[in-house]
Symmetry: C2
Subunit: 121 residues, 2 copies
């Protein structure tokens, strides 16, 4: 088994679409995913798991039902399971997601924004 | 329940010791920990879990029995469970660790470098 370091900036260069998380590493049954995001995502929640958003570049707004979370580079938030949230980025933003394998990006909702899981780059 | 963003650079300012991971967030039963490191750690492994090292600032070398992993800012590696490893930083380095709650920092070894778990900042 070869153990390799992963450079996230090199991985981001391989991403050309928005709101489509790509897996870069797995730890036990958890995955590290990178995504470029821009514009509005949809309201959704995850019934069975918390979800971590870590901003690498740019600014991300996560709307909750009763508040808004503003994240800049080097800032993270854990959205608890069951909590409705809607990510939004005015300008292009690079984020890392950390969550269990097989979490659907749109949570309880199926939409045109739902993407295939477990897509490695 | 209040959901707050966490700024890792602000959290690093609260850390004054080396090789003593501090918890900044929890996602399900996994924790995000920050540590400042400098010098040599000890050879150890974790019997029951993989462990992720993500370098925020500086450079980290992780010696394995048959190779060495060099990590700079924005680079991460997942050390699989059971794999012997020894972290080393020539100069001060800031890292994020992601692993299950209650993982002992020195793994299978108890030493003067073993620190209390679940220490939040």
């Amino acid at each position: 088994m070869k153990i390799n370091q992963i450079n996230i900036n090199q991985k981001f260069k391989k991403i050309n679409d928005f709101w489509s998380p790509k897996v870069i590493a797995q730890m036990n049954d958890y995955q590290f995913k990178l995504a470029k995001v821009k514009g509005e995502f949809i309201w959704h929640h995850h019934d069975s798991t918390d979800e971590t958003f870590f901003v690498i570049k740019g600014n991300l707004l996560i709307e909750l039902k009763d508040s808004k979370i503003k994240l800049g580079p080097g800032e993270l938030v854990v959205i608890p399971k069951g909590i409705e949230h809607k990510p939004y980025a005015k300008d292009e933003c690079e984020i890392m997601l950390i969550e269990p394998k097989n979490v659907k990006n749109t949570g309880n909702i199926s939409s045109e924004l739902t993407v295939e899981n477990d897509h490695w780059i």
